[in-house]
């Protein structure tokens, strides 16, 4: 058995979810090979070689991989696939966009967003917004799987000394080009890896009011998230959304402010270690999953919380 991981990176280094994917690969068993496809990606390849547990790093350094277009990357995965029993990627927007395209070209039914590994063919995954958990067994020759990062610990960034091997690029597909991006800039920790997350919902009433949460986030070293309603209303950017169709987080502490606790929101945060909810409606479903619930008007409670934290 041997596992190919399609690493998510930004040429300079690995994205955190890649490390969780390495841990998942370790549970599958066999050699772990990390693919770094990018442009001027030597630094990311060097970081990959140091990750504990990685046996080999494949480096495809070519212009066509500069912006991680699925149309260009999928043929590379298909070319490498015959040497592997498993192909894994993190279930981030990068992996979700790319891996099904490669799976279809390989005539494999992908298994998405797994939260557990039973054996090399059998995987556990949440379905119906986490209302149910399915265990499925694959009959395909190669298993193509995306990994829910919060369900696996990150592999240590140091301790490995993998050999590096160069692979040729597969050329530009001519199908798509990258035009530009508008990335949300923040000094705060990344939402999916932060130890503490404080999220606001429709109850926040405006984008300006999120400043209250940001001040608390800065005191706690937390990331700021949101419900879909808060994103749809334009209070905060789309990449703040936690839930079934947004990001999945599982911090040590999740603080939900003015969020009702719809199942689609719970799908993205109910594996957090400790959940706090502040809501003025004592019947709000969020209280059914909260370890500590405070029934209060957030416009009183949040400033008080800021003061209490000193």
């Amino acid at each position: 058995m041997s596992v190919l991981i399609v690493a998510e990176h930004d040429n300079a280094g690995l994205k955190p979810a890649t490390l969780n994917t390495v841990t998942a690969a370790g549970q599958v068993g066999g050699d772990i090979v990390l693919l770094i496809a990018g442009t001027d990606c030597a630094a990311a390849a060097a970081a990959a070689a140091k990750v504990a547990g990685v046996a080999k790093v494949l480096v495809a350094d070519a212009p066509e991989y500069a912006t991680m277009l699925a149309e260009n990357l999928a043929p590379l995965i298909v070319k490498l696939a015959p040497d592997y029993s498993h192909i894994l990627a993190p279930a981030t927007t990068f992996g979700k966009n790319l891996l099904p395209r490669a799976a279809a070209l390989l005539d494999v039914q992908q298994i998405s967003d797994i939260s557990g590994i039973v054996d090399a063919d059998t995987f556990v995954r949440p379905i119906y917004a986490g209302n149910a958990e399915a265990t499925v067994k694959s009959g395909d020759a190669i298993k193509v799987v995306t990994i829910r990062a919060t369900a696996f610990d990150p592999a240590p960034e140091d301790g490995g000394s993998a050999a590096t091997e160069t692979v040729e690029g597969t050329g530009d597909s001519g199908l798509s080009t990258f035009v530009g991006q508008e990335l949300t800039k923040s000094e705060r920790p990344e939402l999916t890896t932060a130890g503490i997350v404080i999220s606001g919902g429709r109850g926040m009433q405006s984008g300006e009011n999120f400043a209250m949460l940001e001040r608390i986030a800065d005191k706690l070293g937390a990331a700021v998230g949101a419900s879909r309603a808060a994103v749809d209303a334009g209070f905060v950017p789309n990449d703040y959304q936690v839930g079934q169709t947004g990001k999945v987080v599982a911090p040590e502490l999740y603080i939900a402010i003015g969020i009702s606790g719809a199942i689609q929101h719970l799908a993205g945060m109910k594996d957090s270690k400790v959940i706090v909810a502040i809501n003025k409606d004592e019947e709000a479903p969020i209280f059914q999953v909260a370890d500590y619930g405070l029934v209060a008007d957030l416009f009183q409670a949040v400033p008080e919380l800021e003061k209490e934290l000193g």
Binding site: L69, A70, E71, A74, T93, F94, K96, P100, A103, A104, L105, Q109, Q110, S112, D113, V118, P126, I127, Y128, G130, N131, A132, E133, A134, V136, S138, G139, S173, G174, L175, S176, T177, F178, V179, G180, Q181, T192, D232, P237, N238, D239, T245, E252, L253, I263, K270, V274, I275, V276, E282, F287, A290, D291, Y292, G293, L294, V295, E304, L305, E308
Partner: protein, 249 residues
């Protein structure tokens, strides 16, 4: 431009889903079904394209049981022109659906396919990407904005870091995200009109596609539930508990 919109019939998003006692799946009998919300957004976008003169015809297609007809009627009432049901009693997986859709795209000579980014039953998020791969077309996934100019489609995508824009050669495949548009409700006159619109029924065999499942469902269970917490009376008590009991701050 002919637009194809694949739509899936799923358990209504507001229904509390229950796992069957025999662990074979979730309870589907006597449960309210609806069009997958992301597919509604796809239909809405296609209808807007038709209203703007960009789309000439909208064909909606749904693969599944005979009742997928109802879901197709809903899309026809929203403004789609014609429907196709691909009737299958075998449980379909995204790869099988993508193969069926490829056959329909070729049969219909569609130039744009708009899918939802994810069906809220299986939460797979695969079908559009797979279809694009099988057709050898460009893909724009998780799209929240679309502009078509000179045979190129510019798609703004919702990604983990924010937004990204790609230019796609047409024909192409799109999967749509929540913020692309707000789907309309069908008006009563349009619901009446939809009853007269054409729906064809095909089978996987008609399309020459093998949809034999690749995965075996071993079991479906309820997830572990959280143990009930406590209510605190004040912010001071909350902070004290977080510091001294939970020890998380």
């Amino acid at each position: 431009m002919k637009v194809l919109v694949p739509i899936k019939r799923v358990i209504d998003a507001n229904v509390k889903v229950r796992v069957k006692a025999d662990k074979s799946g979730v309870e589907l009998t006597n449960v309210k079904m609806a069009m997958n919300p992301f597919c509604e957004i796809g239909v809405e976008e296609a209808v807007r394209m038709k209203e703007a003169g960009t789309a000439s015809e909208i064909v909606v297609v749904s693969a599944g049981g005979a009742q997928s007809q109802e879901t197709i009627r809903t899309a026809l009432a929203m403004g789609a022109d014609r429907g196709i049901v691909i009737q299958s009693d075998v449980a379909l997986e995204p790869l099988g659906v993508a193969k069926l859709l490829k056959a329909v795209v070729e049969k219909e000579s569609a130039e744009l396919v708009i899918l939802g980014k994810q069906a809220i039953d299986g939460d797979n998020n695969q079908t559009g990407q797979m279809l694009a791969a099988l057709l050898g077309w460009a893909q724009g996934t998780f799209v929240s904005k679309i502009a078509i100019e000179d045979g190129v489609l510019k798609a703004t995508r919702e990604v983990d870091g924010g937004l990204e824009t790609v230019a796609l050669k047409m024909p192409c495949v799109l999967t749509v995200d929540l913020r692309l548009n707000q789907p309309r409700y069908a008006s009563l006159p349009n619901i009446m009109k939809a009853k007269k619109k054409q729906i064809d029924t095909l089978s996987p065999e008609d399309l020459g596609v093998d949809v034999t499942p690749r995965l075996t469902v071993v079991q479906v269970v309820e997830p572990a539930s959280r143990k009930a917490g406590v209510k605190v009376a004040s912010v001071a008590e909350l902070v004290d508990k977080l510091k001294n009991e939970a020890k998380v701050i």
